[in-house]
């Protein structure tokens, strides 16, 4: 028996003003797996990702209908506090965006605001553990108090991953986390993602089908606001059921 999915989305519609960006998305996200969302630009994959931690709330004209449940709880319920939601659903962005603070302060930022730190020893432990999990510890352990913005692009992105991990989320959302990085830094991030899924559920938006194939176990293909097809990554890439999926993965559209 497989475990129940950690996230269930049912008939999710997202509107920006009059324009509908997502049309009735229904999708299950399995726990401790990497699920990638692929599709051409403007297909709604990032919109879907951002509705999982309610970052869409920041856009005044954005409206979400339908139901997204995490561990069985509807995150669009009236009594849901987005602050608590985002403590459980971390996010890594397209461009590395470390705060202009020290590496140490970057990692400790989230745990501090969530009151997870009781002592200095706690803080040090969280910093070391998060940086180790993000595969950055050995590179920065001697300069924790230098600025995070002084690191290379790939290191900055791993710092952002460490920063997200530090809050101990259950789910990590990644919005094209390697698109601003060179191939070597990308490879490091991809290995890291594979390592991280042991502890976290990961949803990754990517433009690169090779990346989706390399890092994810499940793939969902979006096209013009519709979820066209989803399934095991291997199957979706070798025997797509829908013509649009086939066209996309063979490079005819997108």
């Amino acid at each position: 028996m497989s475990k129940p999915p950690i996230i269930t989305a049912r008939d999710v519609n997202v509107f920006y003003g009059q324009k509908q960006a997502l049309n009735g998305i229904t999708l299950d996200i399995p726990r401790n797996k990497v699920t990638s969302l692929i599709g051409p630009s403007g297909c709604g994959k990032t919109t879907f990702l951002r509705s999982i931690n309610r970052m869409n709330d920041l856009v005044d004209i954005c409206r979400v209908t339908g139901e997204i449940k995490i561990e069985g709880k509807d995150i669009y319920d009236k009594d849901v506090d987005v602050v608590e939601l985002r403590a459980h659903v971390g996010m890594v962005f397209q461009k590395p965006n470390p705060f202009p603070k020290s590496i140490y302060d970057n990692v400790i930022y989230g745990p501090k605001i969530h009151g997870q730190i009781k002592s200095k020893a706690d803080a040090q432990e969280i910093v070391e553990q998060s940086l180790r999990r993000a595969g950055l510890w050995d590179e920065v352990k001697d300069r924790l108090h230098e600025s995070g913005t002084g690191l290379s692009g790939g290191q900055q992105q791993r710092l952002c991953i460490a920063r997200a991990i530090a809050v101990s989320p259950a789910v990590i959302l990644m919005d094209e986390p390697a698109s601003a990085l060179d191939p070597i830094a990308t490879a490091v991030i991809e290995e890291l993602i594979d390592e991280l899924r042991k502890k976290y559920t990961i949803i990754i938006v990517t433009h690169s089908m090779q990346q989706a194939a390399r890092v994810s176990q499940r793939t969902a293909f979006f096209h013009m606001g519709d979820l066209v097809e989803s399934g095991a990554t291997k199957e979706l890439f070798t025997s797509p059921q829908d013509e649009r999926t086939q066209n996309y993965i063979s490079g005819r559209i997108g």
Binding site: L58, D60, R86, A87, G90, F93, N97, A164
Partner: protein, 314 residues
């Protein structure tokens, strides 16, 4: 087969040359005028220091520039210690900054982070109107409304408030520089990349936490640059202090007393008929140069900070 002869010789383009010269001249005129002003101030200042020593000017505690016309009259030599003027200027500017810095910064945070586009569209132009009010109107307001009000209120509380108090001038000057501070701080806050806001909110920080811990710290260089420019504007401000601060060169830190400022003294020294080689008249140039150096220094530091900060995020 014949080959067409080609030539790369250009024709004369007199208009181009003339325009280029005109552009160059226009830019030189502004610079030349500034250099001329500075030099003339410098020469007159040097002449002033033939009468009064530099150390007396910079460290003297008494300012009383009235020199007698004939040498045998009483009080034939004035006192030219600029310290009371410097402290008066700083006192009024400090009061202005105490008023303007928090109000300007907080209103900038509201505008940049909380206000909807509609509210922003109303408030920003209003602040700009505030910035466009002629300073003589502020001066007027300070002298005829604020100063009497402070004197009356102070009287009821049993405090002795001079009719031309530093407080009145400082408060009104503070209102005058609020738009300057809020507009420069607003620019600095807006220059903080949205990615940082998202990073913080994405970690579950509230809006207030994000502003306090990420946005404002990231904008601090730009904000402090704005503060320095505002301080420089306050130090150089003239009309308000001429009308509201008075001419008594008191050496005091009490905001309820009358003080005078460098600018107000320059106006007083040069109003009316003057002999152009008396120490009294020449002292105005020395004060002018002192003021110029101070504000130039503040402006240069401020611009450096602001520019350095801009590069950081481009």
């Amino acid at each position: 087969m014949t080959q067409t002869e080609i030539s790369f010789k250009g024709r004369k383009r007199p208009l181009e040359t003339a325009l280029k010269a005109a552009f160059f001249l226009s830019s030189v005129i502004a610079i030349a005028a500034t250099v001329g002003i500075v030099l003339s101030m410098l020469f007159e200042t040097i002449r002033f220091f033939e009468h009064v020593s530099l150390s007396e000017f910079l460290f003297g505690l008494k300012w009383s520039p009235q020199t007698a016309i004939r040498a045998d009259q009483v009080g034939s030599s004035g006192a030219f210690g600029a310290v009371p003027l410097i402290t008066g200027t700083l006192l009024i500017s400090a009061i202005a900054m105490v008023v303007a810095a928090p109000i300007g910064l907080i209103s900038a945070i509201y505008l940049a982070e909380y206000a909807s586009n509609r509210v922003r569209g109303i408030i920003k132009p209003m602040l700009e109107i505030l910035a466009g009010i002629p300073t003589v109107v502020y001066g007027f307001f300070a002298a005829l409304v604020v100063a009497p009000f402070l004197r009356m209120t102070g009287g009821q509380l049993g405090l002795e408030v001079a009719s031309e108090s530093a407080l009145a001038a400082g408060l009104v000057m503070g209102v005058m520089i609020i738009p300057l501070i809020s507009s420069l701080s607003d620019d600095a806050l807006n220059a903080v990349p949205n990615a940082l806001r998202e990073a913080s909110l994405g970690l579950g920080a509230t809006k207030a936490e994000t502003i306090k811990k990420v946005i404002v710290p990231a904008a601090i260089p730009g904000i402090s640059g704005g503060f320095l420019l505002a301080a420089s504007a306050a130090i150089g401000e003239t009309m308000i202090v001429v009308m509201a601060a008075g001419l008594a060169a008191n050496l005091t830190a009490n905001p309820l007393e009358a003080v005078t400022t460098i600018t107000a003294q320059i106006v007083a020294l040069l109003t009316g008929d003057q002999e152009f080689d008396s120490a009294k008249t020449l002292s105005a140039f020395a004060l002018g140069l002192l003021l110029f150096i101070t504000t130039l220094f503040l402006n240069v530091i401020a611009m450096r900070i602001v520019n350095k900060y801009r590069e950081q995020y481009d």
